[in-house]
């Protein structure tokens, strides 16, 4: 399963790679990284249907996570990739807006990878 991680924090890459070290080893999960909304869209356009799951930060300069979410859900229809929003703002407003835009799930920073792994299991099953 290919997962696209979108965050303006570049350190998310080593973090995810280490967190999913075992899954990557077994080939269970393949990780791709984009460090802005624009980069994510470019990747999506180039690798259509490759990423089945997108983990995106909301607060990013430029195209924000919510705009990206809306774009992905509108642009990439059959089948639309699963989009999980991860944000530092764990408030209701952000949650509701993300959900209304078609987000499949909502996580708050700091990310609990145990929970994330659980959720990934449910999506891939």
């Amino acid at each position: 399963m290919k997962i696209l991680v979108v965050d303006d924090e570049t350190d998310v890459q080593p973090l995810f790679e280490q967190r999913f070290r075992k899954e990557i080893k077994t080939g269970e999960i393949e990780l791709e990284f984009a460090f802005s909304g624009e980069e994510a869209i470019t990747f999506m356009n180039q690798h259509e249907h490759e990423a089945v799951l997108i983990l995106s930060d909301i607060n990013m300069p430029g195209i924000s996570g919510l705009v990206l979410l809306k774009h992905i859900k509108e642009k990439f229809e059959k089948p639309p990739p699963i989009v999980m929003m991860i944000t530092a703002y764990g408030d209701d407003e952000n949650y509701k807006e993300a959900m209304s835009l078609g987000a499949d799930d909502f996580l708050t920073k700091p990310v609990d990878f145990a929970i994330l792994k659980e959720k990934l299991k449910t999506f891939t099953q």
Partner: protein, 678 residues
């Protein structure tokens, strides 16, 4: 007429024995007497002079005209002379001309005294003196004293006393004619005392004065006086004196010359000639000068003694004694003496009065001075009091103002604090976000490390050293990340504290690019936290050659934060405007008329200055507001959303705190750029 005088003069000089001693005197005197300057008309139109007299502005001129009218009395009968005296006296009294009144009264007093009424004459003279002294006019005082001095022929002491005073005053009053008269009189008195040297000195002074000032009227007298010093030729002096125009015009002078001639002939024992001149004197002085007349009678009596003629002798003797009695009778002498005594008393009184007056003046002056000083003291005191009161009022106002100022300062600092708090509020959400991110790494990497250590232990058990090494290096790298993000969180918290703290006011080397970036993120996330729909592109262009610059980081941070917050606010406003204007349905944001809210921050080194630009592509600032944006409390934000202090504080920080410039360029509909130059 002049020809006649010249002829006489020639005749005289030819006769010439007079040349030995006083020739030069006689010559110059004659020249003066005959000069055009002093030539008087023989017949004077007294009434026209009288008219002119009353128009003359100066007392000296009026006195001179008075003497012109009465002195050249050749054709004046004694009655006429008295008439003019009286006329002028009345006129002077009517016009309150005290100076002229005193002078005329002195002359009248003299005439009265000389004509038998000595007490009446002296009364008038003392009255005249009193009047003259009241006016303070030295000329009039001199005239009064001169006439008084002439009224005590038998009392040399009194006469000289008065005459000396007369001379003093005549000199003081620049009255040359009377100076001359007084000098002559005093000289005559010295002669009587046989003090010939003193007398000559006075005569010569008189002579010089007469020549210098053209005093024609005194010249016959001077000639008579000088004759005393040249006895051999004295008759020639008399002759010349009698030829002088004044002597021809003036009967008093005429009789005086005749009297000298009579004495001269008597001494030569030429009784006929003596009698001739004595009878001339007698006739000339019949009504003008009884003393002269008495002297003439004395001469005539001596003649009759030599040429016995009983009837005539008896007749003249009778007249002589009658005159003598009236002039110098015991009673008259006594009266005159007592009047002189009275006058002396009066003088003493006057002096006493004068002293008293002076004392009074001194007293008054001192009192006035004391009053003045007291007044001054009061004024000073009052001024001082007023000053003190003014000072007190000023002090009170100052105190009040200081209180108000203190209040204002407190209010200002409170406002600044609230502005800080407002911006801090804007920051809090941003800070939360900014802290969550590093915390995310700290937590997760430490958890990962925990896992990795577990794995590493397992691999050690297995003895798989290669794997152990790999895990160890991962752990190490993760520790670095933990450390890095921990520091990052620390920096954010410190920055937040710094922002809320009051400025240290101390400039320190600061990485301006890092500062700008930090506040860019803080402000962006701050706004994002408040408004979830908010989004904006951020362009940064940092000049890495800047390094560190010396600034007060909290203050500059506050300025940058403020400018960025405003910029984000501006682009967000425009975004909302665009959203409201665009069709909301079936239009993807990507296809909508594209507005990309963008805030840019850049740094640039220009010479020894640093330029920081904060730009937005918002709506721009309307021209109506551009002049006011740096004013305190000016805000375009809805009430409650802005303090209106942000830009004014920023302006102060840049211009006052860092001697820099804060400029704004804006175009409506295109955006705004703030440029800091420090």
């Amino acid at each position: 007429m002049k020809l006649f005088f010249s002829a006489c003069f020639l005749l005289l000089t030819i006769c010439g024995k007079a040349q030995s001693f006083p020739k030069k005197y006689v010559d110059s005197l004659t020249a003066v007497a005959l000069s055009k300057k002093t030539s008087h008309p023989l017949i004077l139109n007294r009434d026209s002079v009288l008219q002119l007299l009353w128009q003359a502005p100066l007392p000296a001129d009026r006195i001179a005209m008075f003497y012109d009218i009465v002195a050249y009395s050749e054709e004046l009968t004694p009655e006429q002379s008295l008439y003019y005296h009286q006329l002028i006296l009345d006129g002077a009294q009517k016009r309150a001309d005290k100076v002229l009144e005193a002078s005329v009264m002195a002359e009248l007093g003299f005439i009265t005294s000389r004509n038998g009424n000595t007490p009446g004459g002296l009364k008038m003279l003392y009255k005249s003196l009193e009047l003259a002294e009241a006016t303070g006019n030295a000329q009039a005082i001199g005239i009064a004293y001169n006439n008084l001095g002439n009224c005590y022929p038998n009392n040399l002491q009194i006469s000289r006393d008065y005459m000396t005073k007369a001379l003093e005053n005549a000199r003081k009053g620049n009255d040359y004619l009377f100076t001359s008269f007084d000098l002559g009189n005093l000289a005559r008195m010295f002669m009587e005392e046989q003090k010939r040297d003193s007398a000559l000195a006075y005569f010569l002074e008189n002579y010089r004065l007469a020549v210098e000032k053209n005093l024609e009227a005194t010249i016959p007298n001077i000639l008579l006086n000088l004759s005393v010093f040249d006895k051999k030729n004295s008759l020639q002096y008399y002759q010349q004196a009698s030829l002088m125009p004044f002597a021809i015009r003036n009967s008093v002078m005429k009789s005086r010359i005749a009297s000298r001639k009579a004495t001269y002939y008597l001494e030569l024992n030429r009784m006929d000639s003596a009698f001739y001149f004595a009878s001339e004197v007698y006739n000339l002085s019949a009504t003008t000068n009884l003393t002269q007349q008495m002297n003439a009678l004395a001469l005539m009596l001596r003649y009759y003694r030599a040429v016995p003629n009983t009837d005539s002798t008896l007749s003249y003797l009778e007249r002589y004694y009658k005159l003598k009695d009236s002039l110098y009778g015991d009673k008259v002498v006594e009266q005159a003496q007592s009047m002189a005594y009275n006058d002396m008393q009066r003088q003493k009184e006057l002096i006493a009065q004068k002293t008293a007056y002076q004392n009074r003046i001194i007293l008054y002056s001192l009192s006035a001075a004391a009053l003045f000083l007291m007044g001054l003291a009061i004024i000073f005191w009052r001024n001082k009091r007023k000053e003190q009161q003014a000072k007190k009022i000023v002090q009170e106002q100052k105190d009040e103002l200081e209180q108000i100022l203190d209040k204002l300062k407190t209010t200002q600092s409170q406002l600044i604090q609230s502005e800080k708090m407002a911006s801090l509020g804007e920051l809090t959400a941003g800070i939360a976000h900014e802290i969550q991110n590093p915390l995310n790494f700290v937590n997760n990497f430490s958890e990962v490390n925990k896992e990795l250590i577990g794995e590493m232990k397992a691999e050690i058990e297995k003895g798989n050293l290669e794997e152990v090494k790999a895990i160890a290096s991962d752990i190490e790298s993760n520790e670095d990340k933990i450390n890095h993000h921990g520091k990052r969180a620390d920096a954010i918290v410190k920055g937040m504290l710094q922002h809320s703290r009051s400025s240290s006011g101390v400039k320190e080397p600061t990485d301006i690019n890092a500062l700008c970036d930090e506040y860019l993120r803080l402000s962006y996330h701050g706004l994002r936290a408040k408004d979830k729909s908010f989004n904006a592109s951020m362009n940064t262009d940092y000049d890495n050659s800047i390094g560190t610059i010396n600034i007060i980081p909290q203050d500059i941070g506050r300025v940058i934060l403020n400018l960025l917050t405003n910029a984000f606010y501006a682009v967000d406003e425009r975004r909302r405007d665009a959203l409201n204007a665009s069709p909301p349905l079936n239009e993807s944001p990507m296809n909508a008329p594209h507005y990309e809210p963008t805030v840019s921050i850049s740094t640039k080194k220009i010479g020894d200055k640093i330029e920081i630009r904060v730009s937005d592509n918002g709506n721009g600032i309307p021209q109506s507001a551009i002049d006011k944006i740096f004013q305190p409390f000016f805000t375009t934000k809805p009430t409650g959303q802005g303090t209106g202090l942000g830009l004014s504080m920023s302006y102060d920080i840049i211009t006052k705190g860092h001697n820099g410039e804060l400029k704004v360029t804006t175009k409506e509909g295109e955006g705004t750029t703030f440029t800091i130059t420090i």
